[in-house]
Symmetry: C2
Subunit: 331 residues, 2 copies
């Protein structure tokens, strides 16, 4: 679906578009900075650049990776990235990290975490945007993902740490969502947050080198848990793999499983359907957020919302009556 670059681009922005399409890292980084900027004029330019790049997106496998701190996400992503580069692929690594908005830091801010990968010319690592709500961070990461696809990356890995709703955001922008687990199963598996295991298309027990027996037990328990849940697709039951990212054992098997998933989903038509559904859901999320922001900024709503919220909490009025009263101000 090739299309001409729209004429409305300034020459500077046309240079960005051409640079990204030529797979140059500087224009790529500059475009992402434009996307992450909060200035209105930058946002308008970012939208125009993105529209021009859109016909060239969609070519990457979008892989979501999640797991609690300490599970070995960086080691795993570095091992996976280097393996994929050995196969002749180009790899981008992005992050959705809402905690970075609080700390100013980022799970990917310290590139020394993936030293070898970050130095490899076939890799591109971008830390999480360091300002904004989860919705804002996720939106910018999703747009960055599209820019990376236009820049010809074959695999885009989106990493997230298990904080709040970030796993849902990442699973909503990737083709396959992989959950990393520690081998000390048993009592400690209560740590899996509500709803997270059900997002997983693939579960990986990392650090199998430390205690293979424990890893195998964890694998069996996770299989049982997954077995209790109806899979998202009739054509894919989420498997549980064990591996050691540190010893680079099991990385090839992991990627083979990702490729199996892609093949199964593509055969059934679910691969493209999922992407279309994700784009729709994303649009509605943004519409809902926009409608809520407009609602909250209405002078009378602003004045009455705290009063009615308190009345609903106390049970002095019903949620329905309060909602109706607030909505009437929009007429």
């Amino acid at each position: 679906m090739m299309r001409e670059t729209p004429d409305l681009l300034s020459s500077a922005d046309r240079a960005l578009v051409d640079g990204v399409l030529a797979r140059q890292l500087r224009p790529l980084a500059k475009t992402i900075t434009l996307i992450e900027s909060r200035r209105d004029d930058h946002q308008a330019r970012a939208h125009a650049v993105l529209e021009a790049l859109l016909p060239h997106t969609g070519g990457a496998m979008r892989v979501g990776i999640s797991g609690v701190p300490g599970v070995g996400k960086s080691t795993f992503i570095e091992a996976l990235g280097l393996y994929l580069i050995e196969q002749g692929l180009r790899v981008a690594v992005l992050a959705v990290d809402p905690s970075s908005t609080l700390t100013g830091g980022s799970i990917l801010g310290d590139k020394t975490r993936m030293e070898l990968l970050s130095q490899n010319p076939a890799a591109f690592i971008r830390p999480s945007p360091s300002a904004g709500s989860l919705g804002g961070v996720a939106e910018k990461t999703r747009e960055t993902l599209l820019v990376c696809e236009a820049a010809g990356f074959d695999v885009v890995i989106v990493e997230t740490v298990g904080v709040g709703q970030s796993e849902t955001a990442v699973s909503n922008m990737t083709d396959i969502f992989c959950l990393l687990q520690l081998p000390n199963a048993g009592d400690d598996l209560q740590g899996i947050k509500k709803g997270i295991i059900e997002l997983a298309d693939l579960v990986v027990v990392n650090k199998a080198d430390i205690d293979l027996a424990a890893a195998t037990r964890a694998q069996a328990q996770l299989k049982t848990a997954l077995h209790m849940l109806r899979p998202a697709s009739p054509n894919w039951s989420p498997p549980v793999l064990t591996l050691s990212a540190l010893q680079k054992n099991g990385i090839a098997e992991f990627w083979a499983t990702v490729c199996d998933y892609r093949a199964a989903m593509s055969r059934s038509g679910e691969f493209d359907a999922k992407r279309r559904h994700q784009a729709q859901a994303w649009m509605w999320d943004l519409i809902d957020a926009g409608l809520r922001a407009r609602f909250r900024s209405h002078p009378q709503v602003r004045a009455e919302l705290p009063v009615l919220t308190a009345a609903v909490e106390r049970g002095d009025t019903t949620p329905a009556a309060a909602a109706l009263r607030l909505l009437q101000h929009l007429n």
Copy 2:
């Protein structure tokens, strides 16, 4: 929190309020019919009656019951209801059944399903409102629940069948959400829908009389699955009980567990906090639904939405650009 009945009530509506507070079944049924009516004037009257009843609500234990067809929900609810009445309690049974909006029927439409309970003067059984979206059905059931509390029922059971998002709606309006399961565990447990097991505060394996060994195996598997998930409260790990509703075995233990839950949640302050949170969330659900309805009815949005939806699906525009463009029509 006693309060005078507002003066704005008509004498007919004041009679409804007084009748409900006097625990009379006819005014109760009439009030619910008013709530379920789609006529605007009825809705206005229903709101006024509800406001007058509100100070008298909150006294019941709100119990959600879910499970697939065939799990024995009616038999269980009848056994539980009769047991509670034996203990001197009054019991109301409501339903959220989105399928009734399609079939015109209702999971509780056939009162012969709970013949003994429906004939008992200490019980009140009301089928699911038979028209409207899930959101509409759930809203009316929630308001009906409040009316039942004002009518002095000690326990309100809200039943739902495992269809779509109805379990979430019921768990959002009850204090404890109980999931009924069949004893034929093993391979068949894949039937648990995504996200449902995580809503459960209590899981019950019914029909333990048919095959006790199978029920015990199912219990062990469900315990393992629940063990993998972080509980919603640090003060409650959802237990798994086995019972036979048909033989009335385990009903007393079930209710004792519900009371344990209530005691644990009350001690930690979570019981009231959960109700306050539910009321808030309910208000925002209604606000969001109202905002979306207004948005969709805007002439320019109506004209452009299908075009932009298709463009987003094809990847011709980003979800962000499409959302922005549609929202701008509201200015």
